[in-house]
C-alpha cells in the first residue's frame, strides 16, 4: 500500500460509527487448558474435586459462571488468581475441574467461549462470542451502547492491518488527526482519547503497543492485541474497509492484504496462486 495514503476518509467516519463489534468466528487453535506440565496439577485437582460434595461443586461452578460473565462486562482479561481469590477460595486446588465445567456451561447456555490469552498474558481469560451471526448488519442484532468506541476501535484495527499489521505511533496519531482525534486534546465523545487508546484498549487486549528500542529515538508500534485476534478476523476487517469504500473495491483487489488474509486462514496454496 502506497505510503501515507490511508483508506478511511473523513466523510466516511460516520459510516464507521455505525459498524459494530464483529464478533469472533475466529476459533482456531487456542484452548483453555494447557497440556504441558499439567498432570501434577491435574492429579491434585481431581483429588480436591473428589473431596467436594456435589452441592458444593454445583455452587462453585455456577458462581464461577456468574463471576466470569460479570467481570467480562468490563472487557478486562480475567486473571486466574482473581478467580481463586474471589470465587473458588478454599477449593482453588480444584480449579482445572471447576473451570472446565464452568466453560462448558458458558458455551451451552450463553454461547460464549472462554479463551486463555498467551505469552505474558498467560493465566488471563476473555470471553468470546461463538455464535455465527453472519457477515452483515451486526447492528441490528447486536446493539451496543459503546457504539462510538467500537467504531474507533475498528478504525484503529483497520489502519494497523492495512499498514502491514504494525503502525508507528507518530504515523497513527498523524492519521487520527484527520478524524479530529488528537492525543492532547479533549474529544467531545471520547474525552481523554489518548488514555482510551493507549490504556483502556490496551488493558482490554484489543491493542498492543510495542516499544522498539533498536531505533533512535525509540518508537512505539501499534499492533492488534490478543482479544482483537479472537473477536475478529483479518478477512472481516478487510471486508469492513471495502464497505467503507461503498463496496467499490473487492477484498482481493488489495493484493497484499488479501494474501495476508489467506495466510491467516492457513491457505498457503492460494497465496502462491495470487502471487
Amino acid at each position: 500500500m502506497p505510503g501515507g495514503q490511508y483508506l478511511i476518509q473523513l466523510d466516511l467516519l460516520f459510516d464507521i460509527w455505525l459498524i459494530l463489534i464483529i464478533r469472533a468466528k475466529d476459533r482456531d487453535g487456542t484452548t483453555s487448558s494447557q497440556a504441558a506440565g499439567a498432570s501434577q496439577t491435574m492429579n491434585q485437582a481431581v483429588k480436591a474435586a473428589a473431596s467436594m460434595d456435589r452441592g458444593e461443586m454445583e455452587r462453585k461452578t455456577n458462581d464461577l459462571v456468574q463471576y466470569l460473565l460479570i467481570m467480562d462486562q468490563k472487557k478486562i482479561p480475567i486473571k486466574k488468581q482473581d478467580i481463586n481469590k474471589h470465587v473458588l477460595k478454599d477449593v482453588s486446588k480444584a480449579f482445572p475441574i471447576i473451570f472446565e465445567k464452568a466453560t462448558e456451561r458458558l458455551s451451552k447456555i450463553f454461547g460464549v467461549e472462554v479463551v486463555e490469552l498467551q505469552d505474558k498474558l498467560k493465566g488471563s481469560y476473555i470471553l468470546v462470542n461463538k455464535l455465527d451471526v453472519g457477515e452483515h448488519n451486526p447492528a441490528e442484532i447486536w446493539p451496543d451502547e459503546e457504539n462510538a468506541k467500537t467504531g474507533l476501535l475498528m478504525v484503529l484495527l483497520s489502519l494497523i492491518f492495512m499498514n502491514g499489521n504494525v503502525m508507528e505511533d507518530t504515523q497513527m496519531w498523524h492519521t487520527l488527526k484527520k478524524f479530529g482525534i488528537e492525543q492532547d486534546h479533549h474529544h467531545e465523545v471520547f474525552g481523554d482519547v489518548k488514555k482510551l487508546i493507549t490504556q483502556e484498549f490496551v488493558r482490554q487486549g484489543y491493542i498492543e503497543i510495542v516499544r522498539q528500542t533498536n531505533t533512535d529515538p525509540p518508537v512505539n508500534e501499534f499492533k492488534w492485541g490478543q482479544r482483537a485476534k479472537h473477536e475478529t478476523t483479518k478477512r472481516k476487517v478487510l471486508t469492513f474497509v471495502c464497505q467503507i469504500y461503498n463496496n467499490d473495491m473487492e477484498p482481493r483487489q488489495w493484493t497484499l492484504q488479501w494474501q495476508d488474509v489467506l495466510r491467516s486462514e492457513g491457505r498457503q496454496d492460494d497465496v502462491e496462486q495470487v502471487i
Binding site: 455456577n62 459462571v65 454461547g111
Partner: protein, 270 residues
C-alpha cells in the same frame, strides 16, 4: 428442561448487552433471533406470543442457577411494559458492581435511599450530587456529576427537569434489595403490589398507587375513592389519562407531590 438453541443464545446475549428492552424491541429481537438460525416462527400473532413466552421460560430455566432472570417490568412513568435481565441473588447490587467502583456504588446506594425516602420518587440533581458529603471516602462533585451521567446512559436512572429518579431497569433489578434494605420506607402499590416510588398517595391512610394503576382502577369509578376497604376516603387527585404513551405531565407529578408532609418518612434500616 428444554435445551438452549442458538436462537435462545442470541436472544440472551442481546439482553446481556442491553440490560433492558421495551416490548416492541423484544418482539423484533425474538423474530431476528429465530430467523438468524432458521427456527420456526408462527405467522399467527397469538401463537407467536405463546411461542415467545415459552422461549423466555426456557431461557429462564437455564439461567436460574446463575441467579439471573428475564423479568417483566412496568414503567412507573407511563405503565408501558419492559423486559430486563436481572440478577436475583440476595446481593442484587453486585451486578451493578462490575461497572462501578465501591465508592461510586456507595453513592448510588445513598441515592437509591434518598429516592425511596422521597414522596415523589425523585430527588433534585443538586441534592443528588451533594450526597458526596455523606460518603466515607472522598468524591468530588465533578466525579459525582460524571457518575450520574454514566448511570443515566446505562439506564439505571432517569434525569428529567433537574429531578433524578430510578429508571425501570433499576427498579426491576433492585426491587428486592430496596424492600430488604429499607423495609420501613419502601411502599408497595395497592393495586399491582409492586414497589411504588412514583405515584399518588391517599390523604388518610398509607395507600399508594402507581399513576397507571390509579388510572386503570379509577376508570371504573365515578367518584374516585381510596381502594383500601377500611378507608374509602375520597381521592381528589388529578388522574392521568388512561393508556397514554406520554409520560405523566409534571403538573400531575406536582399535585401528588403536594401531599408531601405525611408520616411516610421514617428511618431506613441501617
Amino acid at each position: 428442561m428444554s435445551q438452549m438453541t442458538d436462537s435462545h443464545r442470541l436472544f440472551l446475549q442481546a439482553f446481556m448487552s442491553r440490560g433492558i428492552l421495551d416490548a416492541k424491541e423484544v418482539k423484533s429481537l425474538f423474530r431476528t433471533s429465530c430467523e438468524k438460525f432458521k427456527t420456526f416462527i408462527a405467522d399467527n400473532e397469538e401463537e407467536r406470543r405463546h411461542q415467545l413466552t415459552e422461549f423466555v421460560i426456557t431461557i429462564n430455566n437455564n439461567i436460574k442457577p446463575f441467579h439471573m432472570e428475564i423479568k417483566k417490568g412496568v414503567s412507573e412513568e407511563d405503565g408501558s411494559n419492559y423486559y430486563g435481565l436481572v440478577n436475583i441473588s440476595e446481593s442484587s447490587i453486585t451486578l451493578l458492581a462490575s461497572d462501578f467502583t465501591t465508592n461510586e456504588l456507595d453513592l448510588f446506594k445513598k441515592l437509591v435511599e434518598s429516592i425511596v425516602d422521597s414522596d415523589t420518587g425523585s430527588v433534585g440533581s443538586t441534592d443528588a450530587i451533594n450526597l458526596v458529603e455523606t460518603l466515607d471516602k472522598k468524591m468530588t462533585r465533578n466525579d459525582a456529576q460524571e457518575l450520574l451521567k454514566k448511570l443515566e446512559s446505562n439506564k439505571w436512572i432517569k434525569v428529567m427537569n433537574g429531578q433524578v429518579s430510578l429508571a425501570t431497569r433499576a427498579i426491576l433489578e433492585l426491587e428486592q434489595y430496596i424492600f430488604d434494605m429499607f423495609p420501613a420506607i419502601a411502599t408497595r402499590c395497592n393495586m399491582c403490589k409492586k414497589l411504588c416510588l412514583k405515584g399518588q398517595s391517599c390523604d388518610s391512610c398509607p395507600v399508594r398507587l402507581h399513576f397507571h394503576c390509579a388510572s386503570k382502577f379509577f376508570s371504573r369509578q365515578e367518584v374516585p375513592k381510596c381502594p383500601a376497604s377500611d378507608c374509602k376516603s375520597p381521592w381528589p387527585r388529578a388522574l392521568p389519562r388512561k393508556d397514554t404513551d406520554q409520560p405523566i405531565s409534571s403538573q400531575t407529578d406536582a399535585s401528588s407531590g403536594g401531599t408531601s408532609t405525611q408520616t411516610r418518612k421514617r428511618k431506613a434500616k441501617s
